[in-house]
Structures are given as C-alpha cells and as structure tokens.
C-alpha cells in the first residue's frame, strides 16, 4: 500500500463509513437537540439575569455578578464532569445529556448576561430620561426603548459566543452521550478505523457551517443605521 492508499483507507474507508453512518446521523440529531435546548435556555436565562440586574438591587446584583463570573471562570468540561460525577453524591442523578445541557446552558447564560448587560448600559442615559419624562415606567422604558437598542448591539457578539458554546456540545461525549463525537468515537473503537471521525467532522460542518453563515447574515442585517 502506498502512503496515499493507507491514508484513504484510514480516513475515507467507504465500508466503515457506510456501516457507521446511521449512528452518526443519530448523533447529529441528538447534537442538534442539545444545541437548541442550550441556546434557548441559555439566552433566555442570560437575558433574564441582565434585566434583573437593571433594577439595581445591590444584594441581588452581587449574586448575579458572582454567578456569572463563576460560570465564566470554570471550564465547561469541568462543570459537566462535576454535574455528572459529583451530583450523584448529593443524591441527584443526571443523565449525561441533562448534565451536558445544564452545564453549557449555565455557561451560555453567564456569557449572554454579560453581553446583554453591556448592551443595556451602552444605551445613553438620555434615552431613559426622555422616555421617563413622557411618563413611561421603568419596565416600559426597558422593554420599549432600551432593550430594542441593546439587543441590536448585542447580536454580533452574542452570535459568536453562542456558536462557540454550542460547539461545546462535543464535550458531552465525555459523559457517554452519543452525540456526533460520541458516536464517531464509538465507531472508531469498534472498527479500529478513524473513518467515522471523518464522518463526524463532516456532520459538524453540515451543522455549524450554516450557523456561522447565518450569524454573518444576522450581523449585517442588524447593522445599526446611525
């Protein structure tokens, strides 16, 4: 076998690929679900925390800032492992899927809160004053005047951060979740051939390439007309 043949046999072995394709497809579907659940919950919680922080209640804000810093400081894998292997000692058993979802949701929540908060504080004070002077209440001003402006500013950094964190779904394979990487790894172990990893990489490209392009489109779509 020439070097090239060895290479194609290892990474593009048609027989192995055909055998493990269904597993990779299952992993793909599972990864999509995991990612969607992380995005929905993480962004919603992040926005909720940022809005709560806008009320300016001291002790609550300390708690928010502490929580956010905690989940920004811990590596996501450490959180997953802690939830999966640590919580059972406290009598709470989480499946690998739930542990991964919860961990990455908390991480996205933390980063999203910081981004939303930066957006809220970047809206000039004059906007608050103008709105309040017409009789709009605090919550109304936040909802109709400040947040719409804040959200536009946050969309580019938020898109990037969301993509980065949802790619972390691959970490779920560490706690035996059969996501794309989990399925690909299993395939490699059983077939003694790395081709399933090639399939996995292709699956990730199919999944995230459109997301990255969509992110780019969102960035231009929401570019601020000043």
């Amino acid at each position: 076998m020439t070097g090239w043949e060895r290479f194609t046999d290892s990474f593009f072995n048609a027989r192995v690929m055909a055998e493990y394709l269904p597993k990779i497809v299952d992993g793909f579907v599972l990864t999509v679900w995991l990612a969607l659940l992380i995005i929905v919950a993480g962004l919603a919680l992040g926005l909720l925390l940022a809005v709560l922080r806008a009320f300016g209640l001291r002790p609550l804000n300390w708690l928010i800032v502490f929580t956010v810093d905690l989940f920004r400081a811990l590596p996501p894998l450490v959180i997953i492992v802690l939830l999966f292997f640590g919580l059972p000692n406290a009598g709470i058993e989480l499946s690998g899927f739930v542990a991964s979802w919860l961990a990455l949701t908390l991480v996205l929540m933390a980063f999203a809160e910081e981004i939303f908060w930066a957006g809220i504080t970047s809206v000039p004070k004059g906007q608050w004053e103008a709105a309040r002077s017409t009789g709009l209440g605090f919550v109304q001003t936040l909802a109709f005047v400040v947040l719409p402006q804040a959200l536009r500013i946050t969309i580019p950094p938020l898109t990037n951060r969301t993509i980065a964190i949802t790619k972390g779904t691959a970490l779920a394979s560490v706690v035996a979740v059969q996501d794309i990487l989990g399925a690909a790894n299993a395939g490699v172990s059983f077939s003694f051939n790395p081709s399933p990893l090639t399939l996995g990489a292709i699956a990730y490209l199919i999944l995230f390439f459109p997301v990255v392009v969509l992110g780019r489109w969102i960035e231009t779509r929401f570019a601020w007309r000043r």
């Binding site: 103008a130 017409t134 209440g137």
Partner: protein, 247 residues
C-alpha cells in the same frame, strides 16, 4: 389676587455627594408664562429643570406642578410627568423608531390609546412642528433641527400643561436654530407655559415674559427681559450678559 402658579418650586436644595448644586431655589411660573433661565455653565439650571419633573430627586424643598405635589411618594409620578413635557439638548429621540413611532409611544403605552388613535394624534403633533411629511423617517435620516422638532412633538402630543426646554438649540448648527425657535414661538402663541434654559438672547427678548439669572445654585436676579438685559442690578448678571452678548 393672582391665580396660583402652575409651577411652584420652593426652597429647592440638591446635593450630589459633597456638591451642593442647588442652594435654596424658589421658582414660580404662572399659567401661559414663558420663563427664560440663564446662567453660567454649572450654575444648576439643568438640575433645577430636572427637579421639576423629578428626573432628579431634590434633597429638600417642595415642587408642585398643576396642583400635584411632585415629591409626595403617593403621587403617581408617571401620570404626573405627562403634564410636563421636556425637551433635551441632545434630542434623545429613540433611534429604532420612526418619527411617528417616537411621538406615538407614550400615547400608546402610557395613555393606552389604540394604535390608530395614537398615530393620528402623533401625526397631528408632527404637523404642529411642520414635519408631517417626515413621519416615517428614522432619527438618523433627519437633520438636528428636525430631530429636535420631533422631540418637541413627542412632548406636546401628551398635551402637557408645562414645557421644559433644556438648551434646545445648543447642539444645533446655526442655520438650524431658527426652525426650532420658530416652533417654540408658535407654542408660546398657542398659550403654552414654558421654562426655557437657553443662550438665545434674541429669543428671550422677543418671547420671554421673565428672565431668571442663576449662579452657583441660587437665583441671583429676575425680571422682564428688557430690564435684565439693559439694566442688570447685580455684578454677576452684568458680567454674564456682557459675556454672552459678545458671542
């Protein structure tokens, strides 16, 4: 006996930390009166205006507007503020809304008008500032003078009893000042009660009933524009006016 003033601020003090910015200010404004507030930068003019609608909480004193005690915690401040229009130096239009949207927002969300009614009312307010044809423009598509007129429309659409202007033309290119002042003149002729902080002395001479000169958080002198400008009683007033007139 003259009728009760529509704005009645008494013994207003305001501290910002160690700064004692307002040091016992009394200001009464009669219905349909135009009071023109002048004074050096930092003398507390903006702070005083902002105490009138409680954008700033006075440290001491009382503020009554149209019979409502503005500082009473039981006062529904959002309701009370609808009677007091405010126009800012930097316009502060909502950049994500059209001119019509800017004017209609409080009509819909505060006064609870249905969208169609709010927009009809907003359109009428834009007509009063001669911008009916710009209703669907975003602030970024308007000149500074047009933006400020939309801001005036946003305030008058709520049919306030008093209008506060904080240096409404200071951020404008000179050629755009006239349009804003013209709209303010029309408001005045329609009988609006107005408190105006500005350096436009020509406007003060032509339109003000009374000029109030502030320095260091106190009212130094007050009188009709003719008297204050031609014959100021205090040295501080004299110095300030001669300095302004030189510009």
């Amino acid at each position: 006996m003259s009728p009760a003033p529509i704005v009645d601020a008494r013994a207003i003090h305001k501290h910002f930390g160690h700064l004692h910015v307002l040091r016992g200010v009394d200001l009464q404004v009669a219905e349909k009166e135009l009071v023109f507030l002048i004074g050096p930068s930092g003398s507390g003019k903006s702070t005083l205006l902002r105490c009138l609608n409680r954008l700033e909480e006075p440290s001491a004193g009382s503020v009554t507007v149209d019979g409502i005690d503005m500082l009473d915690p039981r006062t529904d401040i959002n309701k009370a503020r609808q009677r007091i229009g405010m126009v800012f130096q930097s316009f502060n239009l909502y950049p994500h809304m059209t001119a019509l949207g800017n004017v209609a927002l409080a009509l819909r969300k505060v006064q609870g008008l249905p969208r169609a009614d709010a927009e009809a009312k907003a359109q009428a307010a834009l007509e009063r500032v001669h911008l009916a044809d710009r209703a669907d423009h975003y602030p970024a598509q308007l000149s500074g003078g047009q933006q400020q007129r939309v801001a005036i429309a946003r305030a008058i659409a709520l049919e306030p009893r008093v209008m506060l202007f904080d240096e409404p033309t200071s951020a404008l290119d000179p050629e755009l000042v006239g349009g804003v002042l013209a709209v303010m003149r029309e408001l005045r002729e329609d009988g609006m009660t107005m408190v105006v902080v500005s350096h436009e002395m020509g406007f003060a001479r032509a339109a003000a009933d009374r000029v109030v000169f502030m320095a260091d958080g106190l009212i130094v002198e007050t009188g009709p524009p003719g008297e204050i400008f031609a014959n100021p009683q205090h040295e501080r007033t004299r110095a300030f006016i001669s300095q302004i007139e030189r510009h």
